[in-house]
């Protein structure tokens, strides 16, 4: 197992390098930092201010190497500095050492933004994930319990309907119906103080749960239905085990193996929050910060977030593999 984890971690290195390379191309070659400086500093900025901004953010260095690259020499090359004192090498080094530097727009340390945003993001995504998981399991078990009945079919219809609606519709309806027409919830805002936090989170968490419920219930129902056709279930039924015990003990236990391995991949990404939901409800989490950074063209911030997202995704995949091995002893990681 240990050597397997080490091997998987080594596989992650070229993937991460690829991510770093693509983000560099996008943020430094496709859209040069000079353009960004003008957009961020505004149209009244003078050339000196633009130059100072580029210098302060370390964007005034030659692109690939400090010196001759082929026949051309980068006009920003500085004699006397080492050949690796370039934008490309510095960016790679920064990401690899998790030194994300300062935000292009706010000038705040990106690491600080990240640390400040993790709490609010997890406040939203963790309860939504846990409640959503248990609700999806409960509802899918209910559907399996009343399988092939009219209510089961109606449930499938509802699931498909839920899956078909775009997320924005949930948010619009949630805000204008549940917050405005039935004034149960605050329509916007966040406060990290005990019950006050719960008050602000009820609506976005509920909407997030409902948003994912259609897909999850449909999937879990399929998994449980597959389980219910197994031989051991038929034997138990023949021996007179009641439907409820059969479902909630035997089927649930065996079905959970598949479910856990499915959901564990999502766990690390919960840290990154929800892009739309946080922005729409004013939750100052990482999703909100990323959404805002994209809107403002804050490349340094987006770059760091994409890189961290990639790392968390890889961690999720590794966790899934490990879970498989633990949950099913027949699987050997060779």
């Amino acid at each position: 197992m240990f050597s397997y984890i080490i091997r998987r971690l080594l596989y992650a290195i070229p993937i991460l390098f690829g991510v770093m390379l693509i983000t560099f191309l996008l943020f430094f070659i496709v859209q040069p930092p000079e353009f960004r400086a003008r957009a961020i500093l505004g149209e009244k900025a003078r050339p000196k201010q633009v130059q100072d901004w580029l210098h302060d953010h370390g964007y005034d260095k030659p692109t690939y190497i400090n010196g001759r690259l082929g026949v051309a020499i980068d006009k920003r090359a500085t004699p006397g500095k080492p050949f690796y004192d370039s934008l490309f090498v510095n960016q790679m080094k920064r990401l690899a050492t998790f030194d994300f530097g300062l935000s292009d727009k706010t000038g705040l340390p990106i690491a600080q933004t990240f640390l400040d945003g993790v709490g609010p993001s997890l406040c939203l995504t963790l309860p939504a994930f846990v409640v959503g998981f248990f609700m999806a399991v409960a509802l899918s078990l209910y559907q399996v319990f009343v399988r092939y009945s009219a209510l089961d079919r109606f449930g499938i219809f509802l699931c498909v309907a839920c899956m078909s609606l775009p997320p924005m519709i949930y948010m619009f309806v949630g805000q204008s119906f549940l917050a405005l027409q039935l004034p149960y919830f605050p329509a916007y805002g966040f406060d990290l103080h005990g019950w006050s936090t719960v008050k602000f989170l009820l609506l976005p968490v509920s909407l997030m749960v409902i948003m994912n419920l259609g897909y999850d219930v449909r999937l879990y129902r399929t998994i449980f239905l597959e389980e219910i056709t197994q031989d051991y279930v038929r034997t138990a039924l023949a021996k007179g085990v009641p439907q409820s015990r059969l479902l909630f003990v035997h089927v649930l236990k065996n079905g959970m193996i598949s479910l856990i391995t499915l959901v564990v991949a999502h766990l690390p990404l919960l840290i990154m929050g929800s892009l739309l939901m946080e922005n729409f409800f004013g939750i100052p989490g990482l999703g909100n910060a990323l959404f805002h950074a994209i809107q403002l063209g804050d490349a340094a911030m987006v770059n760091a977030f994409v890189y961290l997202g990639a790392i968390l995704y890889i961690v999720g995949l590794i966790l899934t593999d490990i879970c498989y091995a633990f949950a099913d002893p027949r699987i050997r990681l060779s």
Binding site: P47, K48, L108, L180, Y184, A187, Y188, Q243, G282
Partner: protein
């Protein structure tokens, strides 16, 4: 499951939908209600360092925390006027024999800084001339990166030199005096200018020149200190996130991307509510506050809305005191006849029009071989632009069509003036023929005239706007090709003059003076250093401009401003578009006192009726009783069905 549903229903019914925080107090010391204003802001401030911040959001907050030496009169907006704030009186201007000028300023006595832990015992000390000197030196400190430096170093003696010396030494020496800032006594100081620059008074109304206590900058260093209980190490914020000033409010809470809370500064007495300059339509309402100490409201809570969709919802619930009517909410708020919808009218909401101090125009490149040399062609293009239809279609008819470069409220603006080359298609066709292009055909080559227009038309609505302008020009018979650029590309083209027609250019006032607008056409202001995007070069214009720029607002100056206006109208280096304007809706309990667009909310002069608000909020947010029952019924039905189904199951 039933229990869970019932519990959640109970909880939901009890939690309430008010998104605002509990006010810090319920009542004041005298037992009267603690008054709170609830406002919205679309983004975070970039910094709260008064010598660095130059964005609207930062100004909105700094205006509450920092006093300025002078400030815009909250009610005098036609024309805008500055009045003393921290200064006892307006600065005394004196002209010296060598062409330099001196402004003598006298600081009010007994103005204390806000109480803050950076002062001994946490008690704010008196603001002195030294604090103003320190702030002015900070403008020249390269580490502060003051955006006003580039403009002011041309006028204030020694400012540029101090910056260069600090840049060379790697550190600003605050012990050295600043040549342009002379301390006369503990109350008086003089500003020495290298040349005449009457606009300096407007800079004194900006936070760049506000006093800063040096101990606050030293104290709030962003490092850990043993400030916690039992000497526990706690990180102090940086000064740029913890401003300390003499303003009417002090900031007690700032949560990025979330909210800001300001509370009245109990020691504030820099100014009182003005007793003059009331606009006639609001004079009766304003008179009741004349001479009262400010701020009128004890606490201000500002919610940061990066997403604007929830703003109308919160306004409708009564949890925001006012909101700008954006395009999303326009149809739900204002009728086609520019009135409030009956629902808002019945609620007592007020609709007010705010006119921004800005002008938008289309720039024509005067160095272009086709456009630059043919005045009649430019005039013809100007005549083909239908400003009124443009404003009606894209700005709901709210924004006024610009007839001249300067927006209303600035000295020299004439509301009766009409652009001689305003929309008139027939005149445009005639001018085009005189320009050598009858019906858009070049009389020399016989080919259709083809022009290129650059635009930042990256969204669908912006594209429609550009198409509107393009179609207008094409009505003359010429062909206009549109090139769509992003913002940065557009600025790059403006910098290097690589365009014929540039759509969507404009200018928002830094200060309300004709110099700030007409400098856009001064030949010394070519891009990239300046903003003369049209590259208009007219020695006569430059001469009149130089003369006008240094004058006080006199009838002679007005004559020169009119002369400049006439030259631009005749030469047509630009096509005037509109002055930005928008509607604001205000709750019945929060009628605005000041609507001055050069102030960012004028919060210290605003008022509120908390009793009316509490009553109406309750009325507008009644919770119906039926939803928990419906939820419980559905859950019970599902459980019942499962039980019934199990009993009748075949397998």
């Amino acid at each position: 499951m039933l229990a869970l549903a019932a519990l959640s229903a109970l909880f939901i019914a009890g939690c309430g939908n008010d998104p605002n925080l509990e006010p810090l107090h319920k009542t004041r010391a005298d037992g009267s209600p603690w008054e709170v204003r609830y406002a919205a802001m679309p983004d975070d401030p970039r910094s709260l360092d008064p010598q660095f911040a130059y964005d609207q959001m930062s100004h909105r907050l700094l205006e509450m925390v920092m006093d300025t030496l002078l400030e815009y009169h909250p009610f005098k907006t036609d024309p805008y006027e500055v009045m003393p704030a921290l200064l006892e009186a307006m600065p005394q201007r004196s002209k010296n024999a060598d062409g330099t000028e001196t402004y003598t300023c006298k600081l009010k006595r007994g103005i204390p800084f806000q109480d803050d832990p950076c002062f001994p015992g946490g008690k704010g000390r008196e603001c002195t001339v030294r604090d103003i000197e320190y702030a002015w030196k900070r403008m020249a400190d390269p580490k502060v990166e003051c955006p006003a430096l580039s403009a002011l170093q041309d006028y204030i003696a020694g400012l540029g030199e101090a910056y260069d010396a600090a840049k060379k030494a790697g550190k600003f020496d605050y012990s050295k005096p600043l040549e342009g800032f002379e301390i006369v006594d503990d109350q008086t100081f003089r500003i020495h200018l290298l040349k005449a620059y009457p606009q300096i008074v407007y800079w004194m109304a900006m936070q760049f020149t506000s006093p800063v206590p040096p101990e606050a900058v030293a104290y709030y260093d962003g490092h850990e200190h043993p400030d916690g209980p039992h000497g526990k190490m706690v990180q102090r914020p940086e000064f740029k996130w913890h401003p300390v000033g003499t303003g009417a409010y002090h900031m007690v809470e700032y949560k990025p991307a979330s909210r800001v809370r300001m509370v009245r500064n109990p020691n504030y007495h820099t100014v009182v509510f003005p007793s003059d300059g009331y606009p006639p339509e609001r004079a009766d309402f304003l008179r009741q506050f004349a001479g009262m100490p400010v701020p009128l409201v004890d606490e201000v809570q500002i919610t940061i809305f990066r997403e604007t969709t929830p703003i109308p919802i919160l306004f409708k619930q009564g949890y925001l005191d006012g909101m700008g009517v954006g395009k999303d909410a326009y149809d739900r708020t204002v009728t086609t006849t520019h009135e409030l919808t009956p629902e808002f009218k019945a609620r007592g909401v007020r609709l007010e029009k705010d006119l921004d101090v800005s002008t938008f125009f289309i720039s024509l490149n005067m160095q272009d071989p086709v456009l630059g040399t043919n005045k009649k062609l430019r005039q013809a293009l100007s005549c083909a632009y239908d400003g009124q239809s443009y404003v009606d279609i894209f700005w709901n008819g709210v924004a006024p069509v610009a007839q001249q470069l300067m927006p209303p409220g600035i000295f020299g603006y004439d509301k009766n003036y009409k652009n001689p080359y305003g929309y008139d298609l027939e005149k445009g066709k005639k001018l085009l023929a005189e320009a050598g292009y009858p019906n858009g055909i070049d009389s020399k080559t016989g080919r259709q005239l083809e022009l290129t227009m650059d635009s930042s038309a990256t969204g669908s609505e912006e594209r429609q706007m550009t198409e509107f302008v393009q179609k207008g020009f094409q009505q003359l018979g010429i062909r206009v090709n549109v090139v769509e650029d992003n913002f940065a590309q557009l600025l790059a083209k403006e910098d290097n003059g690589n365009f014929q027609i540039l759509d969507g250019t404009g200018w928002g006032a830094d200060y309300p003076d004709p110099e700030n607008f007409y400098m856009l056409f001064n030949s010394r202001n070519f891009p990239p250093e300046g903003k003369n995007a049209c590259r208009y070069k007219n020695p006569e214009f430059d001469k009149v401009f130089d003369q006008m720029a240094t004058m006080d607002n006199t009838p002679e100056r007005l004559e020169l401003v009119n002369k400049l206006r006439g030259m631009l109208a005749e030469d047509c280096p630009q096509i005037f578009n509109f002055h930005k304007a928008f509607y604001t809706v205000v709750q019945p309990w929060a009628r605005r006192t000041s609507t001055n667009m050069l102030l960012e909310g004028a919060m210290k002069y605003q008022q509120v009726d908390p009793v009316m608000r509490a009553r109406l909020q309750k009325e507008w947010n009644r919770t119906p009783a039926w939803p928990p029952y419906v939820l419980a019924f559905l859950v019970a039905g599902a459980v019942g069905y499962a039980v019934w189904f199990n009993r009748h199951r075949n397998v």
